[in-house]
Amino acid sequence: MSSFPTIAEAAKLIAAKSVSPVELTKQCLARIEAVDPSINAFILVTPERAMADAKAAEARVMAGASKGVLDGIPIAHKDIYNTAGITTTAHSKLLEGFVPTEDAVAVQTLAAAGTVMLGKLSTHEFAMGGPSFDLPWPPARNPWNPEHQPGGSSSGTGAGIAAGLFLGGTGSDTGGSIRSPAALNGVAGIKPTYGLIPRTGIQPLSQSLDHAGPMAWTAEDCALLLQAMAGHDPNDPASVDIAIPDYSAGIAGGVKGVRIGVPHEWHGSEAPVSPATAKGIADAIELYRKLGAEIVDITLPKLRAYQAATFVILTAEAYAVHEPWLQTRFNDYGELLRERLALGGFVSGPDYVQALRRRRELCAETAEAMLGVDMVLTASQPTEAAKITGVPKWRLFGPPGFTNPANLTGYPAMSICSGYGEGGLPVSIQLIGKPFQEAMVLRAAHSYEVATPWRQSRPAISLGATSIAAQ
């Protein structure tokens, strides 16, 4: 077995009874002990729960009663996902010691699929605030270089997967919080269509923009996790009741005939990207062309338009969630989050409504611009990860990001690694699909990953740690 098995690889070995879920879990716990003090991916490790889950999975496998491909696979949850009997802090003093009585629905469905829960993962405070150094727990760091930030808000999920501490995990994405850490840690992450995965039991940030989703080392693994997470939940008013397709069935089907639109203005003049990011996009375009896709130049609405509407909606909705605590416990938040949240108090009712109107217009314009293509290829993040101390408080007002459009429109979007840039830090591309076309996005991402060498590299910080293969 590889030192860093993917979920798909581990699942085959578990099914063949050549790898034990208990041993796999022990090895992940050993690697967490060796590596996590350097990257702080975890807020809480739950070894007793993990071993109990692993033993149960092993018993099922040995009895011929496996729950499927995720049975016995070690994962971890972003600490905004409620976990019954286990603290859920949102990385905030406000929820320090909070012990939910019920699992989030996505935690339930992943547990029902047989996954092994290793613990709870660092996040930017309440999925918006970091990286912060004034919270009860330190911020996650980038395993490719711990002096750099791992992106966020699903920071621990991205850092921990890249470091090989666990095989997959959960994230949430309100303005890019799955795709940013996926990009900056060089892993895969998909924000599915709005409403595909229930958010019930996940600490909210902005209900009309919040999405739950999986992260893993590969697109193939994201498909396996998405399969378990997708589904209808009547308690989430955004949840859609549709038939869930098999996301893995056609994942190796290639991209022949797929029409990929490239909005060159986005990553060119509107939000210039680093040389390595630009090269990754150019190389991906060439690769997809060679694989039989049709590359089409398209023009989408300006990134700035998506940014403005996303910002107004997000800050107003987040303020509504946090207003009572902002008024009574302002200084219990970290500085970054409390000031970002407080801005929502300055958004008027008419401005919020106008932002919703602009959202409707942008959704229509996006749909029209994408009529002739199946998906869009652009950057996920503009550059390699910045130094962890170099993230400005008001970064929200900087150059517009590439991730907001899919939050505002609800379209599915995925970040995958497209190489390594300055200092060996990962760079990425983003694929944006049409609503409920996750299978096509995953197929295109998988086609790219198997045709490129980027899945063969891991952070040096992990290579000296306990090798799963050597056990």
């Binding site: 302002f330 401005d351 602009r358 409707r360």
Partner: protein
């Protein structure tokens, strides 16, 4: 582009939120607010027709 808000006007707006802030926090938020104004202008313009549809409408009745 709107003119920067005066410190007194910002302090009044801050008080309306009910959030207790120190002078230093107020100054920092004032800086953030001035950056935010440009994004607010973006969603206000161009102005929509008075009868333009809102982003969401209310539909009575049970979920299906």
């Amino acid at each position: 582009m709107a003119s920067p808000m005066s410190d007194a006007d910002f302090a009044a707006m801050m008080r309306r939120t009910g959030i207790p802030v120190t002078p230093a926090q107020s100054a920092s938020l004032h800086e953030g607010y001035e950056l935010m104004v440009a994004l607010l202008e973006d969603i206000r313009t161009p102005p929509r027709a008075r009868a333009a549809e809102p982003g969401h409408i209310f539909i009575a009745g049970p979920r299906t």
